[in-house]
Symmetry: C2
Subunit: 427 residues, 2 copies
């Protein structure tokens, strides 16, 4: 069956279409933090952030079903749903971020955010880190370094070295913060010299794709001062840390402690219904709306609004942010008690946790070993994955109703997997 | 109530957010080709192509509800739904277009199509018409001319004059076709001289946003020969004509009579669930997948696949393409019998129809008059809109279950609206 599906994928979707795991799983059902494959094997989901309030949450499913049966048009007609949702969502934001554009994907949201920075500044130069991902559109994908675009990297993009969690020779948090700011300062200067000018800095406030190396609020302070002085915008990609995942804070930028000009949200927003948004101050929104015509057919349609509103309600009514704090703390304590020759760091915040492995020399990334651990966990019925520049950090990012008992199951499985995964020479 | 919603929109969404009609309608319920506003007033929908098989079609609603309750993940796990859908959809296509990337919006699809042309040719120059729309991402929006982007129009884009339906001084269809091809030839030469090179031509095979001026299959033949000779790709944006709307053909390119290298689909694909796709030959797909990393979180998820599959089933089971042919023909006959001093042309194919108005001089677009007719139709409970370079053509593009009786209601309302709309001096 799996081979048949893989053959059909190759025939129908072409080569290089990503799957998870060496033997991809064939999932057929989900509920809460559990998934089941076609053979009836159960998995605990310690990875997926899209089913934010749990797979197939009945309230979100009901909202989608009910609104789909009643009306699904677009925002060129007036409808209460999208307005109520924007009111509810912007009430969670400070810093004057009171307006929204509703779209369908985080990529579309970030694609707009880049243009908001252009509209405000009249300039096009943009800065991101060199180990990030902000989307799959032409404009956002050039912020990733996986492959050079046809025609080469566009000269209006400057990538600065992503912060590292290890190997910084005992630098203090303040030194790391200044080091990052120095790279940003150099990039701003280059953009200004080049004639593109500096429009903004786009980053994930938790540096999620970078392997969440930054664990100190205040890290961005010197950078923020620089960006402000240069007249650029701070574009916070909250697709991963947003909606309470941090446990202590509803947003990553609240935790990191800075005031973004634009916030983008996506994946977890409607528990899997394709919806995303750009949140901005009225002055930024007006600049964008004055400079660019923009309409999104599906964005903010009545079903999208209903699904997103139900998701927000469940986060509140089930106390899921507090759950991420309490269970996240508990799981991180258990992770920090793990001992293994290649395990050099466990870290995380709320329901975004990692465990980093390096070879016995104490510095070379143990990527192959980490791959083997992921596979061993899948075999044990736990879905998680890897992250970071070298893919040597386990990425644990469960749906928000993840319970203390689920944390125990995952950590116990990890203890067992670590005990049974051979330490290869190449690790 | 309407004013309250408008105030909230301005507060929450900012300025320049498009609505339809001088007094925007507040729609709260839909079923089939009928919509109802908050006051209980019924409208016949003669405009929306997203609810392709009718607003809130029970089979599509049931498919969404059922799959949402069972599983909604992403294509990094194996799932039958997306494969079955791609099999079913590509079976409708010739020309070796057997593979698909599933995304969420037509904009995302066209953004990929542009990169497919780049990947195949190694070049970036692209051609479109000067009165078109292929999406709202940074890369696709520069194919529209509404407003210059920050930093100016990118030099790798060349826009050729859109075909016109009127004012071509009695040119034969073959002359018009050659004229268009000559513009494309000039644009190809410019791109090759400029160093960008020529990657492809993107167009809607029905020239929908151009006001569907081309009514002659074969129009594109000389252009196709040129594009092939220059090694470029033909990118067919089927977001509007696709899925049987033409009545006689499932796709616009089938009707126009050419073999595209890439086809993009969107709006009507899943009756309002946010899903879209790029369809290509395996060689084109392999080039894209080799040159660009691409993954779309929501694209082709199990619910999207279920909604799209149900929509395709309904098109077949309810004979909606044939309905578009028969009722479309009938409505066009009735439209062609209309007489009004400013009405100079009615045209259309299947369920995509227009009526063009010019001032008494026989050539100046009667834009204001057309606006007044649209408003008069809304007052009479018919939703339609305007299209074309000067917005002086009524655009009638109803959901596919539109019946002969619905056509009569619309045409009778139009007769009444024309009789009661004053012919202003500025028209």
């Amino acid at each position: 069956m799996t081979q048949d599906l893989l053959d059909r994928r190759a025939r129908l979707m072409g080569p290089n279409v990503p799957t998870f795991y060496e033997t991809p799983v064939h999932i057929v059902r989900g509920q809460g933090v559990r998934l089941w494959d076609a053979d009836g094997k159960a998995y605990i989901d310690c990875y997926n952030n899209v089913p934010h309030v749990g797979h197939c949450h009945p309230r979100v499913v009901a909202a989608i079903a009910q609104q789909s049966a009643e009306l699904n048009t677009h925002t060129r007609y007036l409808h209460d749903g999208v307005l109520t949702y924007i009111e509810r969502l912007t009430a969670r934001l400070g810093h004057g971020l009171s307006q929204a554009i509703m779209v369908c994907t985080g990529s579309e949201a970030n694609d707009i955010a880049l243009r908001m920075a252009q509209a405000v500044t009249g300039k096009t130069g943009i800065i991101a880190t060199d180990n990030t991902y902000h989307g799959n559109t032409t404009a956002t994908s050039v912020l990733s370094t996986r492959r050079p675009p046809i025609g080469g990297y566009p000269p209006h993009v400057r990538l600065v070295p992503a912060p590292e969690s290890l190997g910084t020779d005992g630098a203090t948090p303040m030194q790391k913060a200044q080091d990052f700011a120095n790279h940003v300062a150099r990039a701003i200067a280059e953009l200004e010299t080049s004639g593109f000018g500096f429009s903004g800095l786009m980053l994930c406030p938790y540096f999620a794709n970078e392997g969440f190396p930054v664990q100190s609020p205040g890290f961005l302070d010197p950078t923020v001062a620089l960006v402000r002085a240069a007249g650029g915008l701070l574009l916070a990609d909250e697709v991963q840390p947003g909606f309470g995942r941090m446990g202590t804070h509803f947003w990553g930028h609240e935790w990191l402690g800075f005031a973004p000009d634009v916030v983008t949200v996506g994946k977890p927003m409607a528990n899997g219904y394709p919806v995303a948004a750009v949140l901005a101050r009225p002055d930024v929104m007006a600049a964008f709306r004055g400079a660019f015509g923009y309409f999104n057919t599906f964005g903010g349609n009545p079903v999208a609004a209903a699904a997103a509103l139900a998701t927000l309600d469940v986060i509140d009514d089930e106390g899921l942010m507090e759950n991420a704090r309490v269970v996240g703390d508990y799981m991180q304590q258990r992770l920090s008690a793990l001992r293994h020759p290649l395990l050099v760091d466990t870290r995380g915040h709320g329901f975004f946790m990692g465990a980093e492995f390096v070879q016995s020399d104490g510095k070379t990334p143990a990527t192959d070993f980490t791959i083997a651990v992921v596979e061993a966990m899948v075999a044990r019925g736990v879905l998680l994955n890897r992250i970071g520049r070298h893919g040597n950090t386990l990425k644990m990012r469960p749906p928000m109703p993840f319970a203390r008992e689920d944390a125990d199951i995952v950590v116990d499985a990890l203890i067992d997997a670590l005990a049974h995964t051979p330490i290869m020479k190449s690790a």
